[in-house]
């Protein structure tokens, strides 16, 4: 009787996971993608701070970069909150698209504002700590 009950419970739990779309592997993958996008935003913020402090880019150019990076970070924050509340990893998809677009715009702005100093970005693009195929294609 206990075995039957355990089987029914396991079946019920499995069904719930399927119905509600809760997939721990995809949840983990979504969080890793959000984490990867976030550290990239932080790196660009640190680089931009150096460029502004060194007088390489103007304050107004810095503000354009800051606005883009905040858009990206806000998208990541909202996605993280939505995933934490619902357990639905697909919530990350749109946020990652927004973050990726904002990061791309930021890179182009930096390359436009400070082409010599940001020539190293091409080399830095080879920086890919996330090699697992289970991750979302964040970049």
């Amino acid at each position: 009787m206990r075995i039957v009950f355990a089987l029914i419970t396991a079946l019920f739990a499995s069904s719930c996971a399927t119905i509600f779309g809760v997939d721990p592997a995809r949840l983990d993958s979504a969080n890793k993608s959000l984490a990867a996008a976030t550290v990239r935003i932080e790196a660009l913020a640190l680089i931009s701070t150096d460029l502004v402090s060194a007088g390489v880019i103007t304050p107004s150019q810095g503000r354009a970069i800051s606005t883009n990076l905040r858009t990206a970070l806000d998208a990541v924050q909202q996605a993280k909150d939505a995933i934490a509340a619902s357990g639905d990893p697909t919530q990350a998809d749109t946020a990652l698209e927004i973050a990726e677009r904002s990061i791309d715009i930021t890179l182009r702005l930096l390359q436009s504002f400070a082409p010599k100093q940001t020539a190293l970005f091409e080399r830095e693009k080879s920086w890919k700590p996330l090699q697992s195929q289970t991750y979302f294609p964040a970049f």
């Binding site: 913020a45 150096d50 060194a54």
Partner: protein, 79 residues
């Protein structure tokens, strides 16, 4: 351009280049450490982990805004 001015420009460029390498290095390491820690603890990367990184990025953006304001203030002072 005077030698001192050239040296000043080169010095600024060096600072920026060092900054580029260190910024990507520091944040890259941070991510690797997070993944290693989660793996060592045999757990998935969770919302708290992501939130900690978001907080760090927000602090970095606040630093950028502070640098912008300082540069603006410096510009006004020069004028």
């Amino acid at each position: 351009m005077e030698a001192a001015a050239i040296a000043n420009v080169l010095s600024g460029l060096l600072i920026v280049i060092r900054g580029l390498s260190s910024a990507f290095g520091v944040t890259g390491r941070k991510l690797v450490e997070l993944l290693d820690k989660a793996a060592a603890e045999n757990r998935d990367v969770g919302a708290d982990d992501v939130q900690a990184l978001i907080d760090d990025a927000a602090t970095a953006l606040d630093g950028l805004d502070a640098a912008i304001e300082a540069a603006e203030a410096e510009g006004e002072f020069r004028e």
